[in-house]
């Protein structure tokens, strides 16, 4: 019989229960109050007292209110029908909820049991299968989804029967599996999985190496992220974290994009589901919303569900990865998630760690990031989860515990900087402090040499060196004055400004400049490097400034034109003439 409990204490969304039977850590229970059933999760057991965090408002909750334990942890329901959906942090389908306001205790089913799907079997009767084996195919929004054997299977099973090609509901039995002992299992298209347990249904995890194109030059060229890689974007407010995340999620070359809006503004989520249905996926030409899933737990929604939302999103990502798809998961912002942990730890009167965050914050963050990755599945196919999280450090201070702990696990660091944002140099990623560790991976070097050429990484490093040199000179000019340094210094400084204006800065709101395909990035890199390698002749620094401003203006106009259009070549011609004025070339 299921365990029951009674409420014995309430502080905000932390409730203590007295229980009459066994309970498990992280088990889900429902507390009844005033006709509402409030979903809650066990977070601590102390003798007879069970502490639960309630995923809803506890207004009006009284001592003695009854609670029913469910016998399972918080889990998601997985199957066809999730693409382009808007879920809350507990995977309720937000569109199915009635009324303008979220009603306490209203939970909606994430899938649609009545809809028919065209199912095509992959295995046949007599085949041997294991957990997560692909049994058949279903197409959703032109994505080839796989229907898999239950993730929880143990050992080898034989397919006793499988339905033929045809239309089925997700609740229909599509296959019967049997193991050596003769236990039979009916399989339908639905899977369930506890969100806080990582899915490990793959053979091995590899070091990732394939470039994940985002169309953002500061990322792709200077600090590339790869399929199955991890990255994070810290930055004070107002530096463009969200605009950057949206650009990446619109443009990245992924099969499925999952956006976890974790404790952020509701209007940002509204922007996604207003714009994505109208935007074309640059890679397939289909609508962006068709490959997107939104998990929205905005800042005004209950705090405990905010913590759950990132896990919900990650579990959904793992589901698609098991099908051999490339998934991009974006979480905005992981700081809000950490704050939710802090609020709860505070109410439980745990001894606080740095900045009152719980002591185990570093291991929680590390475990979460390590659920992403590039994997080989049981059948040799590959799948990946690329994870990019934003961090909102308190006061913009990068010594914040969430930033420091994330830095230990994420391989790409895109540091957004107030100073660049103030000067309207967007994306405001600091080109000198930011890094991608993938540039050092021999696997990546090999891949990029084949895809572009073997001069690519040396060129990128050359650009980085010039940028650093430019920054040093700028500091010297600030101290010594324009006249206090040789003219050559001005030339080098303006070469670094050229890189900044033409390669790094990008207008996320301009139709053409917003996305730069790799081919065009290569052309920009070559043009900029060619100019930087030239020897210019100047007598005084004023001419340098004036001249380079004109060079920058022409290059910038090129960036705004359709690649290799007439206008583009026209500006290129003017640029060549201008360059010839001051060089021997």
């Amino acid at each position: 019989m299921a365990t029951k409990g009674k409420v014995s204490g309430v502080i905000a969304n932390m409730v203590t229960l007295k229980v009459d039977g066994p309970v498990a850590q992280n088990e889900i229970c429902y507390i009844e109050t005033g006709g509402d059933r409030l979903m809650s999760e066990v977070i601590k057991v102390a003798g007879e007292d069970v502490y639960v965090q309630v995923f809803e408002s506890t207004r009006g909750l009284k001592i003695g209110a009854p609670a029913d334990f469910s016998g399972h942890m918080l889990e998601v329901t997985l199957g066809p029908g999730m693409l382009s959906k808007n879920f809350d942090g507990l995977q309720n389908d937000l569109d199915k909820m009635k009324g303008v306001f979220l009603k306490r205790g209203e939970y909606t089913y994430p899938l649609d049991n009545d809809r028919l799907w065209r199912f095509e079997p992959i295995v046949k009767a007599g085949d041997k299968v294991c957990a997560s084996a692909w049994l058949g195919k279903v197409e959703e929004n032109f994505q080839p989804l796989k229907i898999m054997a239950p993730f929880t299977l143990e050992g080898e099973y034989t397919v006793k029967s499988i339905v033929p090609d045809g239309e089925y509901r997700i609740i229909d039995t599509i296959a019967v599996l049997e193991n050596a002992k003769g236990d039979k299992i009916d399989v339908n298209m639905i899977q369930k999985w506890p969100v806080k347990v990582a899915m490990t249904n793959y053979v091995e995890k590899l070091r990732p190496f394939k470039l994940l194109e985002t169309g953002v030059r500061l990322i792709d060229t200077l600090n590339p992220i790869v399929e199955g890689g991890t990255g994070f974007i810290p930055g004070p407010f107002g530096t463009g974290k969200t605009v950057l995340q949206h650009s990446i999620s619109k443009q990245a070359e992924a099969d499925i994009v999952i956006i976890a809006a974790c404790g952020e503004r509701a209007n940002e989520v509204v922007e996604i589901f207003t714009e994505f249905p109208n935007l074309d996926d640059p890679h397939t030409g289909r609508k962006l919303i068709e490959r997107t899933i939104i998990v929205a737990n905005t800042s005004n929604m209950p705090v405990a569900a905010r913590e759950a939302s990132v896990y919900t999103a990650m579990t959904i990502a793992e589901y698609y990865r098991s099908m051999g798809l490339r998934v991009l998961l974006m979480a905005d912002s992981t700081s809000r998630w950490a704050q939710a942990l802090r609020e709860m730890s505070n109410r439980m009167e745990e001894l606080p760690g740095p900045d009152a965050f719980p002591m185990d914050i570093s291991s929680i963050i590390a475990n979460f990031y390590s659920r992403s990755g590039y994997v080989i599945l049981y059948n040799g196919e590959q799948g990946s989860i690329t994870f990019i999280g934003t961090v909102s450090p308190a006061g913009g201070n990068l010594k914040d515990p969430v930033v420091e702990n994330t830095k230990k696990v994420a391989r790409c660091f895109y540091s957004l900087e107030q100073e660049r944002a103030d000067r309207k140099r967007y994306p405001a990623i600091n080109p000198i402090d930011s890094y991608s560790k993938y540039l050092d991976y021999p696997e990546f070097e090999k891949y990029i040499s084949e895809r572009i050429n073997d001069q690519w990484i040396p060129k990128v490093n050359e650009l980085k060196t010039l940028l650093l040199r430019g920054k040093e000179i700028a500091e010297q000019i600030n101290i010594l004055g324009d006249d206090g340094v040789p003219v050559d210094y001005h030339i080098t400084f303006w070469k670094s400004e050229l890189i900044d204006f033409i390669l790094l800065q990008q207008d996320a709101f301009d139709q053409i400049d917003a996305v730069t395909p790799m081919e065009r990035q290569e052309s920009i890199v070559n043009r900029v490097i060619d100019i930087c390698r030239l020897d210019f002749k100047f007598d005084n620094f004023l001419d340098v400034i004036d001249y380079f401003k004109r060079v920058i203006n022409l290059c910038k106009q090129m960036n705004y034109q359709v690649f290799e259009s007439d206008k583009y070549f026209e500006y290129e011609k003017q640029l060549k003439e201008l360059i010839a004025e001051r060089t021997n070339a």
Binding site: G9, V10, S57, R59, G60, L61, K62, I63, N86, L94, G99, V100, F101, L102, K103, R104, P236, F237, G238, G263, R265, A266, N267, V269, V270, T274, A296, T298, S299, N300, M301, V303, S333, Q339, R342, E343, N346, E349, P352, D355, A356, A394, G395, N397, D422, R423, K424, N478, G481, D482, F509, L542, I545, D546, K549, I552, N553, K556, Q557, Y560
Partner: protein, 441 residues
């Protein structure tokens, strides 16, 4: 509901702190209201039969044998058309001498709007102040605070914005507002003949601090009534949210919670977000726009209150005294409206985004030139021109006494570009320069 038959009266308080009382009681709900010797209090903690109450007016003079009556409900406000034109205290009781409002009683601090029932904000709110309209355009359904030192004229600017903005209702929530400022707002509203559009919930510095915790929820509950049920455009002014946060800190401190940054409660982000996220645009036309004030101490925006606020709100506005022109301006560097791209160049003229960015870039060049002057370096001709540009730009556009429509603002900016620069120095797309560059100056 206050007069339940056979209502149980408790007369034994076990523990009293400056803001809370603890007693043993049965059948009490979380968040429920109680009266302690006639003072309003709210349940903030239940541990078995021990109930902790937060007393809004403070506990001065409460005896251990005070009469405690539980009211069986969370704080409520009676909503109806009659709210318009009225002034209330933090409890929603009239302070203007008028009769109590009759209407439907609703709990304040109600549930959040389902994000999928929102509409993307897209309507410009014109204020005539070009430091706002040109560089940091406001959009209905937005939430944005002024980050200001206490000596800056944020209340005046807010009142100007409220009077010029085309809205159906203006709701003022005062938290720790000086009595003088309260009278100032009252005067502005009545001089503008706008009294019938105003609703005010006021906690002045003369009232107990903890009371002000109710003000934003009161104001926003009234706002939701007009926005949801009457499809009206509502502008909510909240001044000052730092006083609100201070009251939160007092309560959490009395409840022995572990403080996080700057002695603020660990839940500050969620507490503030619950208020600001009430800003919304509904598909049916109703909207709630929130303009708030967060006072800074010593211009420090890394303090927990402005810092958390900045992560929640859709931008922030900074005021600054510009010594070159002797006026207060809207600081173009630190101010930001995150929703401006939803209207700039769409609801305003197409050249708006580029003109705005170019002007701010040139203004930044001027500030570099100023640094050079301060360090005793020579200025180039370009530096001199940016400095002249910056002075004019500040005076004609950024100053808070400007009142222009957006098209005029853009024309003024183009004229300043032409007066001081060549077309290739402004870094604007060639096609736009061709169309708008003034032909003769």
């Amino acid at each position: 509901m206050t007069t339940k038959a056979f209502q149980k009266i408790y007369t034994k308080i076990n523990q009293i702190t400056k803001a809370t009382c603890t007693l043993k009681a049965q059948d009490v709900g979380y968040d429920e209201l109680a009266l302690i010797d006639g003072r309003l209090a709210q349940v903030v903690k239940i541990a078995g039969d021990e109930i902790t109450l937060q007393v809004f007016q403070g506990t001065n003079g409460i005896p251990t044998n005070a009469e405690v009556v539980f009211l069986g409900k969370a704080p409520t406000l009676k909503v109806g058309e009659e709210l318009a034109g009225r002034f209330f205290n933090a409890y929603g009781d009239p302070i203007d001498g008028g009769p109590p409002v009759e209407g439907r009683e609703v709990e304040i601090g109600g549930p959040s709007v389902n994000p999928v029932r929102r509409k993307q904000p897209s309507e410009l709110i014109a204020t005539g102040i070009s430091g706002i309209d040109l560089n940091n355009t406001l959009v209905s359904g937005q939430k944005i605070p002024f980050f200001a030192d206490p000596d800056q004229p944020f209340n005046q600017v807010m009142a100007t914005v409220a009077m010029r903005a085309k809205t159906d209702k203006i709701i003022l929530g005062g938290m720790g507002m000086t009595y003088d400022d309260y009278l100032y707002f009252k005067n502005v509203f009545s001089n503008a003949g706008a009294m019938d559009r105003i609703i005010c919930f006021m906690n002045t510095t003369e009232d107990p601090a903890v009371e002000r915790l109710l003000v934003p929820d009161m104001a926003l509950t009234a706002a939701e009534y007009f926005a949801v049920e009457k499809n009206e455009k509502v502008l909510v002014l909240l001044s000052d949210m730092t006083s609100y946060a201070d009251a939160l800190a007092i309560v959490s401190n009395r409840m022995d919670q572990i403080p996080s940054k700057d002695s603020m409660p660990g839940s500050l982000y969620s507490d503030l977000a619950k208020i600001y996220e009430k800003a919304v645009q509904f598909p049916e036309g109703g909207s709630i726009t929130i303009i708030a004030v967060t006072t800074l101490s010593g211009d420090d925006i890394t303090h927990a209150v402005p810092d958390n606020t900045g992560y929640i709100t859709e931008g922030q506005l900074f005021l600054r005294r510009d010594s070159d022109i002797g006026k207060v301006i809207v600081d173009p560097f630190r101010s930001l409206s995150r929703l401006k791209q939803l209207v700039n160049g769409k609801k305003t003229r197409a050249d708006h985004p580029q003109v705005m960015n170019a002007a701010v870039r040139l203004y930044a060049d001027a500030s570099n030139a100023k640094t050079k002057v301060e360090n005793g370096f020579d200025l180039t001709d370009y530096d001199e021109r940016t400095l002249s540009f910056a002075r004019d730009y500040s005076d004609k556009l950024l100053a808070i006494d400007v009142n222009l429509d957006t098209t005029e603002m853009l024309d003024v900016t183009w004229n300043l570009f032409a007066k001081y620069f060549n077309p290739d120095e402004v870094n604007i797309k060639a096609s736009i320069v061709e169309q708008y560059w003034p032909k003769e100056v």
